[in-house]
């Protein structure tokens, strides 16, 4: 019997393992009985047969488990714990039941997956861009500092001045730190030739504000931030890899920037980003922005500023403190601000959360799109709820039997819930797949300069969102069946085989209400999308004042060392333009400091030879500032900007700058000389009020400029004065007169003017091989970028509206089909007594039109609410635009007619004899 003593413990382990599968309350008995069994076996049989027997315990445990499940299904008593533990069994039963009706299951799961998946995809973007904090330490305390200058004129939002930076850093207690930065372009000599780089100068305080990290070397320190310090720079990680070949010994070497030596002190980690610079335009170089406290200060508001609030301080409190400090500025910086400057223009420094500033309108845009996909989800859920209702109705008898057999209400409720949950959770899993594919697709569609959206991916938050949404949808699906099947009428299912019972009518009403709601929601979405399409159409036809077709655009930047005066700059521009004009296909070429749509046109004070202008502007509460732009001959022609009066600037105006000719925009002439002939009037650049003045020789058409934050694209005109490249030598105001940083515009007859680029690059290097060209694009893309966000949002809402319409049509089709099936007998009777097929069709289509019209009536109200939320995005179309509503409603009616005509046609082919024989 050695075998028995060897096998017995082993067999006992097997039995105990099997017992784990049995319901807990039966384990003890089971093990006890099997121990007895094993003893007997040990005594009478051998070790091997005992072991074989022990494996029978698995079958035993399986049986006990199955019994437990059957008990739960039919006679489970209501306890919270018991109710919860029955879920697994119910879900698996539900899954098996659903597998047996694949048609219903596939349609329902796919519909839900589209709805939930779309919501998840947009939520992922929303989470990334809007909900997550900015990637800075203490990001919630970072604020944007801006100046609102409503009385100034063209540009009403000004950045900070160095004077404000110094004063606020020293005196504002509500701000822990203040930082300034400013982008600049530059040319760097690299082994492969001259390269145009984006550089940013930042105050030392920005290192801490941004949480900057150096990959190699060191960051900017206070020692670098003194006027006498040598020029140093950190290169970006991207630049280090791309241009420097990731050379680890780069720190300490010298770079030539605009012909100046700059020591590389470190490599900036790619994770260090400026808040409003998109990844596509990230800086290549980071350099110190040194503010010389002992030097002179000017009223020059060109430095974007950010600050960190002191702990516990709100932006409003900080703003109030800055408002108290602002009147002290003229005393502290008399050379920068006159005593009445701040009062006169309603100047006010604004403090707002940095995230709001970075996102701008994007937060609202994304919420609108999210609202759109949420409506699609509601429509999808309504469809599935309808299907589910029909299905549960078909199974009323089964559920009735269950409850007659003793299944109590919670057990039946749990079973119905389980089936709804099985559907919605399957939909949720598929939805994650939809979102997984959808998110990269969405970010690819999104404009490059859309902040924070790029790089979004499905993470834990998205998965949690999907799961939560799936559970909610599952609950919503089962709500009505739950009430209907566990309420007072639960057992009625047994006897209720007849049509038209009161419960049946209730369900029919519910189904109809769902269709009405769907139509209403679909109308809301369609109207929203329609209004945006209308906006886009308007924007596309907006006259930007220039003809963007066939215009190549590129940036060009001369070295200030080698082109230090306007004579050498002009000679370069003239020669390059003449070389370019000789390129086959080129019809015109010119350069200017700004181009329409993309250019902000700044705000530089102008002087006038007529004192009446000052008086008039002062009375109007405005300043004399305007966009002061230097342009070459050919600029207006290449951009297709018409010269409305007088003449264009010519080479002669530059070759002989004492001619002091100037062209103004129509808006400039209208503002400063309303009702007068501007030709011959005198203006002084930079606010110069004494002769010699420049004299107006022509008036150019108005162009659209880059819109201020919060204003719709293409809605603002540039108020501009266009000076020649060479300044009048008799003119004493010459501080900023350098036109070495220009945008080249080349007109051709080509659809893709960028194909001219190699020839143009060659033309430039023929004149100077060290001058790089950068930012190559074409004018149509420039205009497209201005409206890219609206176009993105309208595309997404358009897709949502299309899906919504389709789903509503499916829902309507389903309900009408069902009604027709239920009314087969009635229809047969009507036909038996002489109704014509056409009459039957009209009757069925008519009954669906009733639902659609009810839905439209409800939808108009909803759509007006939705359109009101979108007001800020709409340009040239009112949120109540009747045409859009009529077209959207018409489209829905058409789709609905098609959807209901199919069952109507089927109804009209009912064979009266067959119909009456049913049942």
């Amino acid at each position: 019997m050695w075998e028995a003593s060897f096998f017995l413990p082993l067999a006992r382990v097997v039995v105990r393992g099997a017992a784990l599968l049995a319901p807990r309350h039966r384990r003890e008995d089971m093990v006890r009985e099997w121990d007895g069994e094993l003893e007997e076996e040990a005594r009478h049989s051998g070790g091997w047969s005992m072991l074989r027997s022990a494996f029978g315990a698995f079958a035993d445990a399986g049986e006990l488990r199955a019994q437990r499940r059957r008990e739960r299904e039919t006679q489970g008593r209501w306890t919270m714990g018991g109710w919860m533990s029955g879920w697994g069994a119910d879900l698996s039963v539900a899954a098996r039941t659903l597998r047996r009706s694949p048609g219903f299951t596939v349609v329902a799961v796919v519909t839900l997956a589209l709805g939930i998946g779309g919501s998840t995809a947009v939520f992922t973007l929303l989470d990334r861009a809007v909900l997550k904090p900015l990637p800075y330490p203490g990001a919630e305390r970072l604020v944007r500092l801006d100046n609102q200058v409503p009385g100034v004129g063209p540009n009403e939002v000004w950045a900070l001045s160095t004077a404000q930076f110094v004063y606020f850093s020293d005196h504002a207690k509500d701000l822990e730190a203040v930082g300034l930065y400013r982008g600049m372009g530059g040319n760097v000599m690299t082994p492969s030739g001259p390269e145009r780089v984006r550089a940013v100068r930042v105050t030392q305080s920005m290192m801490g504000l941004l949480g900057a990290r150096a990959l190699l070397g060191r960051l900017i320190t206070p020692d670098d931030d003194t006027p006498s310090a040598p020029m140093v720079a950190l290169i970006s990680e991207g630049f280090w890899r791309r241009v420097m070949g990731a050379d680890p010994s780069v720190v300490g070497t010298t770079l030539t920037l605009n012909d100046n030596p700059v020591e590389i002190i470190g490599v900036m980690d790619a994770g260090t980003q400026l808040p409003d610079w998109s990844a596509a335009s990230a800086p290549d170089l980071w350099m110190p922005l040194t503010v010389d406290r002992a030097g002179s200060f000017s009223n020059n508001h060109v430095y974007p500023g950010i600050g960190r609030l002191s702990p516990g301080v709100t932006p409003q409190q900080a703003q109030a403190e800055l408002a108290r400090l602002t009147p002290e500025l003229p005393k502290a910086f008399p050379q920068a601000y006159g005593p009445t400057f701040f009062d006169r223009y309603g100047f006010r420094t604004e403090v707002k959360p940095l995230k709001d500033d970075v996102l701008g309108d994007l937060a609202l845009d994304l919420w609108i799109v999210f609202g759109g996909v949420a409506l699609v989800l509601l429509i999808a859920a309504a469809n599935v709820a309808n299907l589910f209702l029909v299905r549960m109705e078909g199974r009323r008898r089964e559920l009735g039997i269950r409850s007659a057999l003793g299944a109590d209400r919670p057990a039946i409720g749990r079973y119905v819930l389980a089936e709804g949950m099985a559907l919605s959770l399957s939909g949720g899993v598929l939805a994650l797949l939809v979102a997984y594919w959808g998110v990269p697709w969405l970010t690819a569609l999104a404009p490059d300069d859309l902040p924070r959206v790029h790089g979004a991916h499905i993470g834990a938050a998205s998965v949690a969102f999907t799961l939560g949404l799936s559970v909610l949808v599952g609950l919503a699906l089962t709500l009505y069946p739950l009430i209907a099947h566990t309420g007072a009428g639960a057992t009625r299912g047994l006897s209720d085989g007849s049509r038209g019972s009161s419960a049946g009518r209730g369900r029919q009403r519910l189904r109809s209400s769902l269709v009405i709601a769907q139509v209403a929601l679909a109308l809301t979405l369609t109207v929203g999308a329609g209004l945006l399409v209308e906006t886009m159409r308007g924007l596309r036809h907006t006259d930007v004042g220039a003809d963007p077709h066939g215009v190549l655009v590129a940036d060009l930047y001369l070295s200030p060392q080698r082109y230090s005066d306007d004579v050498s700059v002009w000679s370069f521009h003239r020669d390059v333009l003449n070389h370019i004009r000789a390129v086959p296909g080129v019809t015109a070429a010119g350069m200017g400091e700004e181009i329409p749509v993309a250019g902000g046109y700044g705000c530089t004070v102008q002087g006038f030879d007529d004192d009446a202008v000052y008086a008039r502007i002062k009375d109007a509460g405005l300043t004399t500032c305007a966009g002061q732009e230097r342009v070459t001959p050919g600029y207006f022609e290449a951009l297709g900007i018409p010269v409305l009066e007088g003449r264009d600037l010519t080479e002669a105006d530059n070759d002989d700058p004492t001619r002091a000719a100037v062209v103004v925009s129509k808006a400039f002439a209208d503002r400063f000389w309303p009702g007068e002939d501007p030709i011959g009037k005198g203006v002084g650049p930079g606010g110069q009020t004494k002769p010699p003045f420049y004299h107006v020789v022509g008036v150019a058409g108005d162009v659209a400029r880059l819109s201020d934050p919060g204003r719709p694209p293409l809605s603002q005109k540039a108020i501009a004065v266009y000076y020649p490249v060479r300044r009048n030598p008799d003119d004493t105001w010459n501080r900023y007169w350098w036109a070495g940083q220009m945008t080249l515009v080349v007109k051709s007859g080509m659809d893709d003017p960028t194909s001219l680029f190699p020839a143009i690059r060659k033309a430039v290097s023929e004149v100077d091989p060290e001058v790089p060209l950068a930012g190559l694009t074409d004018m149509q893309s420039v205009v497209g970028r201005a409206t890219a966000t609206i176009s993105f949002v309208s595309l997404l809402l358009g897709i949502a509206a299309g899906v919504a319409m389709l789903l509503s049509a499916v829902g309507l089709y389903g309900v009408i089909s069902y009604v027709v099936t239920r009314r087969t007998r009635e229809i047969g009777m009507r036909m038996a007594i002489g109704a014509q097929p056409g009459m039957v069709q009209r009757m069925v289509v008519g009954s669906s039109l009733v639902l659609v019209i009810a839905g439209l009536a409800l939808g108009v109200g909803l759509a007006r609410l939705g359109a009101g939320l979108m007001r800020g995005m709409l340009v040239g179309v009112a949120p109540t635009d009747p045409a859009t509503y009529v077209v959207a409603a018409g489209a829905l009616v058409t789709v609905a007619l098609v959807a209901s005509w199919i069952p109507a046609w089927r109804a009209s082919r009912v064979d009266p004899v067959e119909a009456l024989r049913v049942d």
């Binding site: 076996e41 005594r43 494996f55 029978g56 698995f58 049986e63 057999l405």
Partner: protein, 114 residues
């Protein structure tokens, strides 16, 4: 559980009948039933559970003192309930009729008896 009982009776399987018959013939617990009916443990124990759930058999634990005296674990004894006896009687007829097939009787005669 009238419904359940009726259904179980109607559905009493051949193995179920064997297990009941073994009990009736004085094999009251698992190991003996297995030997008498020549069925493996993986068949007998689940059947016992099913028959008990259907109300065809009842079980009780042996007095632990007695088992201890004999130096073995206590046994769980099973016996048919009245419903179990009825089901067995019905099954026996069916089984005997079926066995008659092997003994050369005509199917018609066997059917007539059932």
């Amino acid at each position: 559980m009238a419904h359940g009982q009726e259904r179980a009776e109607a559905n009493l399987t051949y193995n179920g009948a064997l297990v009941l018959q073994a009990m009736v013939q004085g094999h009251p617990y698992g190991f003996e039933i297995m030997r008498a009916a020549r069925l493996p443990s993986g068949t007998v124990y689940p059947l016992l559970r099913r028959l008990e759930a259907a109300g065809l058999v009842a079980s009780r634990w042996e007095n632990p003192g007695k088992a201890q005296g004999e130096g073995r674990p206590p046994r769980r004894y099973y016996e048919p309930t009245p419903a179990g006896h009825a089901a067995l009687a019905e099954a026996r007829e069916r089984v005997l009729a079926q066995q008659a097939l092997f003994e050369g009787a005509t199917p018609k005669a066997a059917g007539g008896e059932g």
